[in-house]
Symmetry: C2
Subunit: 336 residues, 2 copies
């Protein structure tokens, strides 16, 4: 029996800093990336809290017995965010056998840091959003790793989609990629996102997509710059959407559709998401892994939208589409 659920978070302790003693950590890419994700976490939480009257992101710091730890920041029952988590971790140690096998490498020392966030808003008109940015290094010395790579992405899952919101989100991420053409490609990252966030048993995309990338290795300095730009672009990709929609009135009908759509989110995360599966199988911290699940969910049997309803129109969006080259007239009307 593992004690993973007993690893009591400690609100009083300092930042995750046990990596400081690792060989070659000072000035390394590992250190720069850890600082980048921790700074991103702080900025994102502060901005989101500015919309809340009472709720705030609590801090759950946790330590990993084998090395490192993380800071889970969760908000619940806010005015704007129903449930959201913005987490960072920086963990290190000997690569577990199983993970070495998956990655096809020797069980060397490893270091991994990342920012991972999921926001489920109160309003059915404000989309759920997910993003993460991560760095992984293998080897004895972090100043000269045997291997290192970058991964990440951001994707949007509206309940009642607005055309303009899907376009804004994709434009933001296309622009980030365009600023780093040597390491990033919107077209291929967009396709990877569509391929990944798909529910075959529903014949549905999870939402309207975004970008997704992993195992980026060449030109690490440019990859760091891309990661920094992407982390900084999360708020501009999402906040305009949130501000446009957060005060729209909604009723029980819209809440119900929201809860049904959130069931699809749960299905994706528990059945397909590699991070979730890997975390649960390798004894990760369960509450941090499952923080991505929405607060309220419904699974009515064989639910179908009424023909020509705004719920049926919403379904049009859950097929991968080329949002930046689509005729507005071909999309359904906005759901108001």
């Amino acid at each position: 029996m593992s004690d993973k659920n007993d690893a009591a978070p400690n609100e009083a302790s300092d930042q995750t800093d046990s990596a400081k003693e690792l060989p070659g950590y000072e000035g390394s890419m590992a250190q720069q990336m850890q600082q980048l994700v921790e700074r991103g976490q702080e900025l994102i939480c502060t901005k989101l809290e500015s919309y809340e009257h009472e709720a705030s992101f609590r801090r759950d710091r946790w330590n990993r017995e084998e090395g490192g730890g993380g800071l889970t920041r969760v908000i619940e029952n806010g005015d704007v965010i129903e449930k959201g988590g913005v987490n960072t971790s920086a963990v290190h140690g000997q690569l577990p056998e199983r993970m070495a096998t998956v990655l096809g490498v020797e069980p060397l020392p490893f270091f991994a840091t990342g920012l991972s966030l999921v926001l489920h808003p109160v309003s059915p008109f404000v989309p759920t959003v997910h993003a993460n940015f991560r760095y992984f290094a293998l080897g004895e010395n972090l100043s000269d790793p045997a291997d290192q790579w970058f991964g990440g992405g951001a994707d949007l899952t509206p309940v009642y989609p607005f055309f303009e919101d899907a376009v804004h989100f994709h434009e933001t991420w296309r622009n980030v990629c365009s600023r780093h053409p040597d390491v990033a490609s919107y077209d291929s990252f967009k396709k990877a996102c569509d391929d990944y966030f798909y529910l075959p048993h529903r014949n549905e995309a999870r939402g309207v997509g975004g970008i997704f990338y992993d195992y980026l290795r060449s030109d690490v300095d440019e990859l760091r710059a891309f990661s920094a730009d992407a982390t900084d672009s999360f708020l501009p990709s999402y906040i305009p959407i949130l501000e446009r929609r957060m005060d729209l009135p909604f009723h029980e009908r819209e809440r119900r559709f929201q809860r049904i759509r959130r069931g699809r989110y749960v299905e994706f995360n528990l059945v397909y998401d590699r991070g979730t599966k890997f975390g649960l199988e390798t004894d990760g911290r369960t509450e941090s892994i499952l923080m991505s699940l929405p607060l309220h969910v419904q699974w009515p049997y064989n639910w179908k939208p009424e023909p020509a309803s705004k719920e049926e129109q919403a379904m049009w969006y859950f097929t991968p589409r080329d949002w930046l080259n689509i005729d507005r007239a071909k999309a359904p009307e906005d759901p108001l």
Copy 2:
């Protein structure tokens, strides 16, 4: 893209009878087992409907393009059952490549029939229950199959457990096994159930267990008798519990704990349950597979019971225990 979600159920058509034309079907074990599960479905639905004022089990008949079909019977928003499904199917065809690989056999013709039920009651004091009874045959002629086996089981998932209910449920299933000692063993079936319905990432059993068995091959006549006895024993295993608890008053606190516990049920079914995973991966009928998911679910972050509360006492039950040989004084008080 499959058309599984378009396979419109047809309320008007007759019983699933396309198996009648299969070689050797008349008088075969396949036919007997199909009749047994269809009769069980009818009896169970009728009995459960007797507690409802308005709700009833709707009938969704579906056909499988490759052969056979099923009858999904679902009730929703009843007075006693919040969401429940009692399904039968009888499917046949050429064993799919993937399934042949999993089973380690040649891709022969197959026939499979079974009854599968999940009931999620309204009251947090009435346990969720799951049961299924199934038969599988391989070969060209159903009167003389190349291989055939039986599987099934029943398990109870209380929200607020009562000691007497766990004992009653296990006693019923122990007695069924005792009546068929040549093919059934309560001790080993009980252990198989505990091993299977376990959530490692929570360090929790799904509920208080029951029995679980699969790939039973020897003495098919006695296995048919055991299957019939087990199917007939479902109502006596559950109805006394339902009758004792269905009228107990409850409030928002108990509903909330119920919805959190139902989150565990979803986690088990989507992350671990072989039937669910297999069904989704092999293009089964999604709505019949996911019928097992509860109607209302909640996932608050890092929920923990208050010390010494009835919710904490409930957690004592979610560890496999020898219910028929346990000192009542060692169990928590009942949750009233």
